[in-house]
Each structure stands twice: as structure tokens, then as C-alpha cells.
């Protein structure tokens, strides 16, 4: 099986890799690029722990082949903080206790940061719909909603 040379822009930096066709994007990120903030929580594309931003849209990186992402722009949780300044969603999750074990958190942060790009003032229902592809077992979702509302207000 042939290997493929790919190039992605991840968190603003160009990275290259030579990989198998079957390599999942989440493994490219975690193992080849050693960015372990993006997590794996299931094997049937349900949990969303692997969510990253791919060309502007939050997607499940476990269900994208790394080769499909050749040439793409990717943002992971490690790319949210800019110049030592936390992204408002990161602040919101901390202020409103939107995380406990932290495992679903990077996925939640990517999904919600993308939501706030599109929708500056989401309602509770809109927030719940946006994160409905991200499972959480610890928080019961209430504080995640509050965290996003906090971030939205900060960004307005």
C-alpha cells in the first residue's frame, strides 16, 4: 500500500507527514504531531471527543482520513489560546465549571468556539443543538450551556 505525503496547516503552523491511506486524522494529530489535547472516546463516530475545526467547520476527526485533510486548515484545542490569552470559551468553561474530568472538554471547546463564530447570541436550545454531537458523562450539560453563554457575552 502506497504512502501519501500530505501537508496541513495546524494551529497556524504548516506540518508535513508521510502516512498510510488509512491513518485517521485524529491519529495524525495525536501521534504524528504529538498534540494529545484531541481525544478518542468511541469507535462508532458518536462521542465527539475528537472534534477539531477543519476548514472552518467542527468535525469528528476520527471519521476523517488524514489524506482527506491534505492541504486543509485545522484548529485543535491547542490552538485556541492566542498569545497567552485564552479564548472566551476556554474562560467560560473555567468560570462556569463546564468541565469535570476534562476528557470531552477539548471537543466541546472546538464545537462551541465554532458555534460562536456563526451565532453571536445563541439561545440555550441552539447551544444544546450545537453540542448534541459531543457526549459528556460528568457535567450533565447545564454548566456547559452556561459557559457558552458567558463566552458569547464576552465576545459581543
Amino acid at each position: 500500500m502506497a504512502k501519501h505525503k500530505i501537508s496541513v496547516t495546524i494551529n497556524g503552523a504548516v506540518r508535513e507527514a508521510e502516512i498510510e491511506s488509512r491513518l485517521l486524522l485524529v491519529h495524525l494529530i495525536r501521534e504524528d504531531f504529538r498534540m494529545t489535547g484531541t481525544h478518542i472516546g468511541c469507535d462508532t463516530s458518536h462521542c465527539g471527543a475528537c472534534t477539531v475545526i477543519l476548514d472552518g467547520n467542527p468535525v469528528k476527526s476520527c471519521t476523517v482520513l488524514a489524506v482527506q485533510a491534505d492541504g486543509a486548515k485545522i484548529t485543535t484545542v491547542e490552538g485556541l489560546e492566542q498569545g497567552g490569552k485564552l479564548h472566551p470559551v476556554q474562560e467560560g468553561f473555567h468560570e462556569k465549571h463546564g468541565l469535570q474530568c476534562g476528557f470531552c472538554t477539548p471537543g466541546m471547546l472546538m464545537t462551541t468556539s465554532a458555534l460562536l463564530e456563526r451565532n453571536k447570541n445563541p439561545s440555550e436550545q441552539e447551544i444544546r443543538e450545537a453540542i448534541s454531537g459531543n457526549l459528556c458523562r460528568c457535567t450533565g450539560y447545564v454548566n456547559i450551556v452556561k459557559a457558552v453563554q458567558y463566552a458569547a457575552e464576552k465576545m459581543r
Binding site: M1, R22, L24, D43, C62, V64, L65, T111, S132, G133
Partner: protein, 290 residues
């Protein structure tokens, strides 16, 4: 969780893609959004030596009304459909369904073409294609051909597409005046396939009686089910509660689901009836009826 090894190809044109598929035969598979194919490869259910990624072929991502049809490119993402004002205002049957497909993250990758061409009776849009009388346009080695939706679905994961044909466009007739459509879906939770779901598209005449109707069911058999008896029954009648109830009964009779976690056969059949009822009521309302 890890797929078996395969070769990956990313053709830049449809012709190239068709050529590749022709050479790989049953070892080749089209990769579009990947939201159905990749999960099955990760579980090693079925394997292909060659994936042909059509995701970057230009000119297959569009939503436009032209020549009497709504024409949607096969590579149009579900999230694009979801955000389309045109779909939301003029094609509510599609708008109803799209926000109930999987979850928002999956919809950022999944394509209409994949949902239509997958041949999985659990996918939502095939039933819609049947209900609206859509035409599916495919490109193959001999060029382009059009296939009526009700000729498209042959069996479980089996469509009228040959191994070396690619679905390029979905064409939906422009709705006539006094038309309405709706999609009603019952599911156990967000992200699950339907327990039962119904797609309804109808047109009323000036008196308010049903002029044309299309009713189809999702996840009710190995292919999407066209409830033609129920649709025929409605023609010429005023769509009051009694008529709707009878049509829903007829439609549910066509449902032949399997029992699983989502429900028993009996429950699923009755839910087909309930979903048809609700979709009919909504479609009638949108058509300007009661």
C-alpha cells in the same frame, strides 16, 4: 477502530473517477463525506482495496432552481442544506429532515449524495426522494443518465448505480402552487437512526382536495418504502382527519421493519402510522389546507 489497509485515490475530475472505479471493480468504493463508509471500515465490516475520494471534484456542490427543478449537487454537505434559506422556505420536507440527520458534526461532512446513494434504509433522504418524485443523475463510463427515485433502490446497500457510476445530482420538481411537504421522524435519541420516519409531499387543488401525493417510509424495510397505495387513496379526497388516518394505516401496512433495540415490529409499524399521520397533517397545513 482501525480500518484494514487500503489504497487511496483522489481524482480531480468525474471522468478520472469513473475510470478508476471501472478498473477496480468490486474492490473500489466511492468516498464522499465518509460518514457512512468510514465508520464501517473502522469496524472492518466490508473492506475495499481502493477508496476513490470524489470529495474535491469541483462543480458538484450547489443548490439551485433551474429548468423546472431544484437541483442539488451530490457533494452538497448536509450542513449547507441546513443553512440554505431556499431549502428552509420552499422545501420544508428537506429542511425538516436535515436537522434530524445524525448530529451537527456529522452534518458538516456528510453529503446529500452519500445519503441518497448509500443504499442504507436508515438514511433519511431516500424516502424524501421517493416522496417528491426526484430524479437521480449519475455519471458513468457511457456518460450521464437519469434514474427515477422509485427505480433507484434495489436492496440493502444495493442501488441502480453500477460499480463505476457516480451520483452527481439530485433533481426535485419545483413544487406546484398549493404544495406542501413534511418529514416526521421518531428516534430514540439524537444521532440514532429512525424508529420510524415518513416523508410526505402533496399538492392540493383549488377546492382543497389532494391532487398529487407522495408518501415514503424510512427504515421500514431493506430499502426505502414507497407507500403508493396510501398516496393513491388520497387523490381527489379532502385531507380531513379521517382520510389522513386511513392513508396512514395504508402506509403503515407497507412497513416491514426488523425488530431491534429501537423497537418491536409491531411498535415500528404503528409508529410508521403515527409518523405518516403527523407528516400528512403538517404537509396539508403547509399546502394551505386546514
Amino acid at each position: 477502530m482501525i480500518p484494514a489497509a487500503f489504497d487511496y485515490h483522489r481524482p480531480g475530475t468525474l471522468d478520472e473517477a469513473v475510470k478508476l472505479l471501472s478498473s477496480y471493480g468490486d474492490q473500489g468504493k466511492v468516498l464522499s463525506g465518509g460518514m457512512s463508509l468510514l465508520p464501517s471500515l473502522k469496524l472492518r465490516l466490508g473492506s475495499y482495496a481502493h477508496l476513490v475520494d470524489i470529495g474535491r471534484i469541483p462543480g458538484l456542490d450547489y443548490i439551485k432552481e433551474e429548468g423546472g427543478f431544484l437541483r442539488i449537487g451530490a457533494l452538497t454537505r448536509q450542513s449547507t442544506l441546513e443553512r440554505s434559506d431556499l431549502i428552509r422556505t420552499k422545501y420544508p420536507i428537506l429542511a425538516d429532515a436535515v436537522s434530524l440527520i445524525a448530529d451537527p458534526l456529522v452534518r458538516n461532512r456528510g453529503t446529500l449524495g452519500g445519503n441518497i446513494a448509500n443504499g442504507d434504509p436508515g438514511n433519511d433522504q431516500p424516502a424524501i426522494a421517493l416522496a417528491v418524485g426526484a430524479t437521480l443523475v449519475a455519471r458513468g463510463p457511457k456518460g450521464e443518465r437519469s434514474i427515477a427515485a422509485n427505480q433507484f433502490y434495489k436492496g440493502l446497500y444495493e442501488t441502480a448505480l453500477a460499480r463505476n457510476e457516480i451520483l452527481t445530482e439530485i433533481r426535485i420538481p419545483l413544487p406546484a402552487a398549493r404544495s406542501g411537504g413534511a418529514y416526521a421522524k421518531l428516534k430514540r435519541k439524537t444521532g440514532d437512526f429512525a424508529v420510524a420516519a415518513a416523508a410526505v409531499q402533496l399538492t392540493l387543488n383549488a377546492k382543497g382536495a389532494v391532487d398529487r401525493a407522495g408518501i415514503a417510509l424510512t427504515n421500514a424495510a431493506l430499502t426505502p418504502v414507497e407507500a403508493s397505495d396510501a398516496a393513491k387513496f388520497l387523490i381527489g379526497k379532502m385531507p380531513d382527519d379521517k382520510t389522513i388516518a386511513e392513508a396512514a394505516k395504508l402506509a403503515a401496512a407497507k412497513s416491514a421493519p426488523g425488530a431491534d433495540r429501537r423497537g418491536s415490529v409491531e411498535y415500528k409499524k404503528d409508529m410508521a402510522r403515527v409518523m405518516v399521520t403527523r407528516a400528512l397533517r403538517k404537509a396539508v397545513q403547509r399546502a394551505g389546507g386546514k
